[in-house]
């Protein structure tokens, strides 16, 4: 039993940490957030050169062949800098779906391009009515000869505005919320009938709503099998949830550290406010909240790494704690920073808003707790 990182994992973590430290201070981040794409293409090329875009991919496609621990150490460091570049959308979701369900041809064509930084991707899974139910899909995919015809609308597509390629979750058979009958389709973002409307979210990222009007793609561009897309989505989303939790842990650590530092320097009533027991105990609570998330993250990563039989429940549990403890931590960080805590000028609020978005990406704490309860307590 050990909780140590290998030398390679340590080097990967240090390399991301150094980038965040040297090239991603808060001012730089604000400037990137203000650009049209809310990400830096130049940074993306740096990610490619440093090998980060290759980490989760198989060695046969030029990847690093990394596992969940490698993803975790990177995402935690990205979290510390609230890095905007779409590692989750392009590498972990779009790339992850191809890696798991893509055909040999699809993988050979696209994965090397992701790795070299030449392809931006997005996974279009949310719809207006779907909320956190991933199988609630109205967008249709109809087979017509050797073509698939897509009609419908996807919303809040992460990296949707910048993506060259989309993977769209569409309904090819069954009822609106059935897990069976979902098909994943690879669609070029510039295909005829695809219309994108870009907009900004509170955490700085630019997303898109995308409509599909009689969009035609060859049947060969299905990712996985017709009607069987959920089996591909589900494990990729489980991995993405662990990655998001790692990003969240990085954020929580920063919020706690910055708050602690502030209470040691901020003076009121002639003393540092950190000398007040009322504040000390609250910071002990947020310290423990952070440690608990870290423990459950490690547990989930070990389950995932060892293909344990409790992965799904463990990841739902992790997301419950990320939501609950995250709210506690950013709430206390804002409160203890006093008036400054509610300014846009201070980074605290920006960390908080990214945490809030993380908690909505694949379902909030209540959603995950209901899923956990179903797995654990249903007869």
């Amino acid at each position: 039993m050990n909780f140590e990182f290998t030398e390679e994992q340590g080097m990967l973590r240090d390399s991301v940490a150094r980038f965040v430290q040297d090239s991603y201070d808060f001012d730089t981040r604000c400037k990137i957030a203000a650009t049209d794409e809310a990400m830096s293409r130049e940074n993306w090329q740096t990610f490619a050169e440093l090998g980060w875009l290759s980490v989760p991919f198989a060695e046969s496609h030029g990847g690093f062949g990394g596992g969940p621990v490698d993803t975790m150490v990177m995402m935690e460091e990205f979290g510390k800098g609230i890095v905007l570049e779409p590692y989750l959308a392009t590498v972990l979701l779009f790339g992850g779906l191809l890696q798991r369900g893509g055909s040999v041809e699809q993988q050979a064509e696209i994965i090397p391009r992701i790795i070299e930084g030449g392809c931006q991707g997005a996974f279009a899974y949310l719809e207006r009515q779907s909320r956190h139910q991933l199988a609630d899909i109205k967008t249709t995919a109809t087979v017509e000869g050797d073509q698939l015809v897509l009609n419908g609308e996807k919303v809040v597509v992460f990296n949707g505005a910048s993506a060259d390629q989309l993977i769209v979750a569409a309904r090819s058979s069954g009822e609106q919320s059935d897990e069976a009958g979902i098909t994943l389709v690879l669609v070029p973002a510039d295909a005829a009938g695809v219309e994108r409307t870009a907009y900004r979210l509170m955490d700085g990222q630019v997303v898109a709503n995308i409509t599909f009007s009689n969009v035609q793609v060859p049947v060969a561009d299905i990712v996985g099998e017709l009607d069987n897309g959920y089996a591909v989505m589900s494990p990729v989303i489980t991995q993405a949830n662990v990655a998001l939790a790692a990003e969240a842990l990085g954020i929580m650590g920063q919020l706690n550290a910055k708050t602690l530092e502030y209470t040691k320097t901020r003076k009121q009533f002639d003393v540092a406010i950190g000398s007040f027991q009322a504040l000390q105990h609250r910071m002990v609570d947020t310290f423990m909240a952070y440690e608990q998330v870290k423990s459950l993250l490690y547990r989930a990563v070990c389950e995932l790494d060892g293909a344990g039989d409790d992965v799904t429940a463990c990841v739902h549990a992790l997301q419950v704690l990320v939501d609950r403890n995250g709210r506690k931590i950013f709430g206390e960080a804002i409160q203890l920073h006093g008036g400054m805590g509610i300014t846009d000028e201070l980074d605290i609020g920006h960390y908080a808003k990214r945490l809030m978005m993380i908690n909505t990406t694949f379902g909030n704490g209540d959603y995950h707790q209901a899923k956990f309860n179903e797995l654990r307590y249903s007869a």
Partner: protein, 392 residues
């Protein structure tokens, strides 16, 4: 990063499981559950563990420990609690034993360690006083040196099982000079010494396990002083970190939660199992999820200790979260018992009542209030973390 069990770990788990199944038999369990036979049954059980060589997993091998690694200790703890077996009485094995082998002289080790390992001596702890609780260092029980003896006068309180004890380990004041932490000494006192009086305290669960122990000019040989005079606080602090790690009781809380869940499954609410109630499920998973995390927090501390580190301020976190979880489970079980939580022991049989866990649930819940108070109250633990970890 790897927490999977190797084949030899699995073999070890099977060995532990088989031993518990055999040695923790029905007759022993019945005697443990009867107050009249409790003491002898505890000693009997601990002697079985001693014969197996497993009585002191926390001790170094040279003093009678098992030499297990962190994984083996974790497996042993998990199997023990899964089998519903109570932990050993901690005062000798987990508290004074480690102080004696770490800070005692050779003569003291030879004299006291065998009796602790073989459970021939029952120990109790003389730390708290009527005027010294969380502020332990303000203790006033005095030990005055007269020739080869200390003369001890004062009182200790909240002393668990003093009525059974052969020995008590005490913090006593040997000097009033300087800081109050200086001038405290660590003394081992024979409970049969003239001048000792044990007064029972009945606790909120209607049981008698706690006592006040009075010392009226009790004469204690200087040979019973651990380490140096006036340095006892250092030894006591080392002990407290051990105690706090043990108090967390994560494996026991898991077992207790599983039991509570099983009770809830049996209970009927509006014609359906209580376990199917979404609000009940939420309360259950609130606890289960925190416990899943805490189990790994404990493993992380164990791994640090196994790698040569000492349980430091992390043990304070384990104590706080561990006791909060214990109380959460106890509270949930009270709600599962509903009005049967009010049933007193030995009024009606389970058959007459149509219910079998309310009385026990209440006793555990009521006495469980102590866990966030003893071993240094949780508020004091927060002060420790604020200072030692956060640097405040």
């Amino acid at each position: 990063m790897d927490t999977s069990f190797a084949p030899e770990d699995l073999a070890f788990r099977d060995e532990v499981r088989a031993f518990f199944a055999e040695a923790y038999d029905a007759d022993l369990q019945a005697r443990l559950n009867n107050l009249d036979t409790f003491k002898d049954a505890v000693i009997d059980w601990q002697k079985r563990l001693y014969k197996q060589g497993w009585i002191a997993p926390g001790w170094p091998k040279e003093y009678g420990g098992t030499g297990w690694n962190a994984t083996q200790k974790f497996i042993f703890e998990t199997e023990r609690s899964t089998a519903g077996i109570r932990d050993v009485i901690p005062f000798g094995l987990n508290m004074v034993g480690p102080v004696i082998y770490a800070f005692g002289n050779e003569e003291q080790k030879a004299r006291f360690l065998p009796g602790i390992l073989q459970s021939d001596d029952w120990w109790c702890q003389g730390y708290s006083e009527p005027g010294a609780g969380s502020d332990l260092a303000s203790l006033k029980t005095r030990a005055v040196r007269e020739g080869d003896e200390y003369v001890v006068t004062g009182a200790k309180i909240w002393t668990s099982y003093a009525q059974y004890a052969d020995w008590i380990f005490c913090l006593v004041r040997t000097s009033s000079e300087g800081k109050k932490q200086n001038g405290i000494s660590f003394l081992l006192i024979d409970m049969k010494s003239p001048g000792i009086k044990v007064n029972p305290i009945v606790s909120i669960d209607n049981h008698h396990s706690l006592n006040e122990v009075e010392f009226n000019e009790v004469r204690v040989p200087v040979a019973n002083l651990i380490g140096e005079q006036d340095k006892g606080w250092t030894y006591a602090k080392a002990l407290l970190a051990h105690e706090r790690t043990a108090i967390a009781g994560v494996a026991d809380s898991k077992r207790s939660l599983a039991e509570t869940r099983a009770f809830a499954e049996r209970e009927v609410n509006g014609g359906k199992s209580l376990l199917s109630d979404p609000l009940f499920q939420k309360r259950l998973s609130d606890i289960e999820i925190e416990l899943m995390a805490l189990e790994f927090t404990e493993l992380r501390v164990l791994a640090t200790v196994a790698a040569g580190g000492a349980p430091g301020a992390e043990s304070s976190m384990l104590k706080i979260k561990g006791t909060e979880m214990q109380q959460a489970v106890q509270e949930l079980r009270m709600d599962v018992a509903a009005y049967y939580q009010g049933v007193l022991p030995n009024e009606l049989t389970a058959e007459q009542l149509g219910h079998d866990f309310g009385s026990q649930a209440r006793q555990t819940y009521m006495y469980g209030r102590a866990s966030t108070i003893y071993g240094g109250s949780n508020e004091v633990q927060k002060n420790i973390i604020a200072k030692a970890v956060l640097g405040l």
